[in-house]
């Protein structure tokens, strides 16, 4: 199987997705691949892990890796500005205040930040492989990530419905125009835009299925495992490829006392993980002493992923 060019790391909050995403990014970039790692979690911590300031625009770190913290709000604002700017040339000046109000209301509607985030991610995905060899996405907690990955399939029928409605309206219009002896055969800008939007969603859904892998990250605990199973089922049902899962903070076998007890519990979970993901090599990351912050400290994790065949 070809290595996925788009990798998503998903899992519950606090399991170490961000740290792993950073490590995967570092690994790929050290191999000489143009790699961008982005965080989509509104509560960003990628900058903290890589110990640098990050924003919505990708910036290059000293080692060669590029990183960004994506923001749905910024993207939504940017798009409203873009649409208003384009409209200024296309519609009468006196309706512009109303246009702006309608745009603002639409941009404030629930779901917009999510859609905007997906839109920004789509832009970046479309830059692979032209600008980037690898894109690593540190996703928001499971539910959020699932929704983000399923969004193209949820939205497409809506856009198609709107396009059909517009076609019906155009059809009725043309019939009247034809009877009055006017001809009205110019391409319809609205219909064109709806079709562009639909095609973009379609391309994205296709890319996610063909080029992406989702790596679920979990701690070796029973509750975390239950959620991971649900996420894995939902992702598989959506036709997405599951990459090797990562079990983080595994207690080494030579511990004694309290940690030895933990070890017994986690063995039961690990057995289930290996059973479920038999085909993939499960990556076990041992419980490490220090906190993993900064590119040098991440080195150990990078080496581990390298050995695991990532």
């Amino acid at each position: 199987m070809t290595p996925p060019t788009l990798r998503f790391l998903g899992g519950k909050g606090g399991v170490g997705k961000t740290t792993l995403a950073a490590a995967v990014g570092l690994l790929e970039s050290r191999r000489g691949l143009r790699t961008l790692v982005v965080s989509t979690d509104p509560a960003h911590s990628l900058g903290d892990v890589l110990s640098c300031d990050l924003g919505d625009e990708p910036r290059q770190l000293p080692g060669g890796l590029w990183a960004a913290e994506l923001s749905g709000e910024i993207q939504a604002r940017r798009r409203v500005e873009q649409v208003a700017h384009d409209a200024a040339d296309a519609v009468p000046r006196e309706v512009m205040p109303a246009v702006r109000q309608h745009l603002q209301r639409a941009a404030d509607s629930p779901g917009t930040v999510e859609s905007a985030l997906l839109d920004r991610l789509t832009e970046l995905i479309e830059q692979v492989p032209r600008h980037w060899d690898r894109l690593v996405v540190d996703s928001a907690p499971t539910g959020h990530m699932l929704r983000l990955l399923q969004l193209p399939d949820l939205l497409r029928p809506w856009i198609e419905g709107l396009a059909r409605q517009r076609e019906r309206a155009r059809g009725a219009d043309r019939m009247v125009a034809g009877m009055l002896g006017r001809s009205d055969d110019e391409p319809d800008p609205l219909l064109q835009r709806l079709h562009q939007r639909r095609d973009r969603m379609q391309r994205l859904a296709h890319r996610l299925r063909s080029d992406a892998a989702v790596h679920l990250v979990l701690l070796p605990e029973r509750l975390a495992w239950a959620e991971t199973v649900r996420a894995a089922d939902a992702l598989a049902a959506a036709g997405l490829r599951l990459g090797a899962p990562v079990v983080n903070r595994v207690v080494p076998p030579d511990e004694s006392g309290l940690l030895a007890q933990r070890r017994e519990q986690q063995d039961a979970v690990l057995a289930q993980v290996r059973h479920r993901f038999a085909a993939d090599a499960v990556v076990e990351v041992p419980l490490l002493g220090g906190e993993l912050v900064g590119a040098t400290e991440l080195g150990e994790l990078v080496a581990l992923l390298d050995r695991a065949g990532w």
């Binding site: 939504a76 798009r79 409203v80 649409v83 208003a84 384009d86 409209a87 296309a90 519609v91 009468p92 006196e94 309706v95 205040p97 109303a98 246009v99 109000q101 309608h102 745009l103 209301r105 639409a106 941009a107 404030d108 509607s109 629930p110 779901g111 917009t112 859609s115 905007a116 839109d119 949820l154 939205l155 809506w158 856009i159 709107l162 409605q165 517009r166 019906r168 309206a169 009725a172 219009d173 019939m175 009247v176 009877m179 009055l180 800008p189 609205l190 835009r193 709806l194 939007r197 969603m201």
Partner: protein
């Protein structure tokens, strides 16, 4: 003689045509125009749901349709002879 009869016949045909147009074609045309408007209104309502206070799951995806739909509405009320239409924030 023949020419005169021909002209009379033609005039009769014209009035018949006019009669037919008023009685049958005009209402049909009006119905179609009404239908065209209704379809446009449906689309406008679907895209601008949040202006009606309804959540629209594809609001973000259809942002770039809004200026055109407002412009259509503007052109329509101008054709109807209203210089201004609705509250500020609806059109102009």
């Amino acid at each position: 003689m023949n020419a005169e009869r021909f002209a009379r016949l033609r005039a009769a045909w014209r009035s018949l045509e006019r009669y037919h147009d008023e009685l049958f074609v005009a209402p049909w045309r009006a119905g179609l125009q009404r239908e065209a408007r209704r379809q446009q209104d449906t689309l406008r309502a679907l895209v601008m749901l949040e202006s009606l206070g309804v959540d629209n799951p594809v609001a973000y995806e259809t942002l770039d349709l809004i200026p055109h739909l407002v412009a259509d509405l503007h052109a329509w009320h101008r054709r109807m002879g209203d210089e201004e239409f609705g509250d500020p924030g609806v059109c102009c």
